[in-house]
């Protein structure tokens, strides 16, 4: 006999369920719960959509002046390291 999960138990497993890291037995229980609990179904659906909208966002370009300062800083660092390592390394 399988016992029914409470909504609280469902929520505790939600992240593992969404990341597909629950075992088969628990998956069945979770899916049974959402088939019978409209609230948890909505929570699952909207949480999935939350993850999806964030995953789809490409990082914006860095402001040009920030990029220029970054490259200058990196080149300075590399030049300084080269100078410091002027002697052959062991």
């Amino acid at each position: 006999m399988t016992f029914l999960l409470t909504c609280k138990e469902f929520l505790q497993e939600l992240t593992d369920y969404l990341d597909s890291t629950v075992d088969a037995e628990l998956r069945v229980k979770l899916e049974r719960h959402i088939s019978e609990c409209p609230n948890c179904f909505v929570i699952l659906d909207t949480t999935q959509k939350t993850i999806k909208v964030y995953k789809g966002v490409e990082p914006q370009a860095i402001p040009n002046e920030v990029h220029v300062r970054l490259m200058k800083a990196v080149e300075r660092k590399m030049a300084a390291t080269k100078t410091a390592a002027g002697k052959p390394s062991v």
Binding site: L11, D16, P38, K49, I51, R69, L70, V74, E75
Partner: protein, 207 residues
Amino acid sequence: MPATTEAGVFDESGLLAKAREGDIAAFSELVNRYSRKIYRLAKHITQNDTDAEDVLQETFMKSFEHLGDFQGQSKFYTWIVRIAVNESLMKLRKRKSDRTVPLDEPLDTGEDTVVREIAVWEDNPEQQYSREEMAKILDEAVESLKPTFRTVFVLRDIEELSTEETAEALGISVPAVKSRLLRARLQLREKLTRFFRRKGDDVFAYL
């Protein structure tokens, strides 16, 4: 070292080898490849443009400095994310000690998983807003999270690190990552429901 047929990883090992020898062009290529993501990550965690720029510069300067220590067991990106996270958290701690930013490290009472708002969303919520509006809505929602939740969410669901990589980058346990991620996801879901709920609808639409 495990062999890989993944072109990107192969290219990267060549770039890394050249960068280790001091090849500026090779290292610049690595910087260009990841700077946007590192800057976004730093901005999300520090929530401050100046701090984010400092973190960006420090991350690449430190990664160059310690390139010899990078063994190639993890991806280069994961390695620099770890540096960027450390630098970002140091900025947050510094501001905390300046007492200019209230940073709460809440006790884990489990109350953050309480769901208050249950409403059906539009099928494609991103289509209701322009790209700029969407970016603003999503950024503001993330910024409203507490730092402990925000950082985990940014690493797992925005930068798409694995649970284990996130745990390692933050120096916390895997269960702690999972627990914080759940809370972050549920809190964001609530905040976004205000924008994305289906108009004139309720939960019974699914019945």
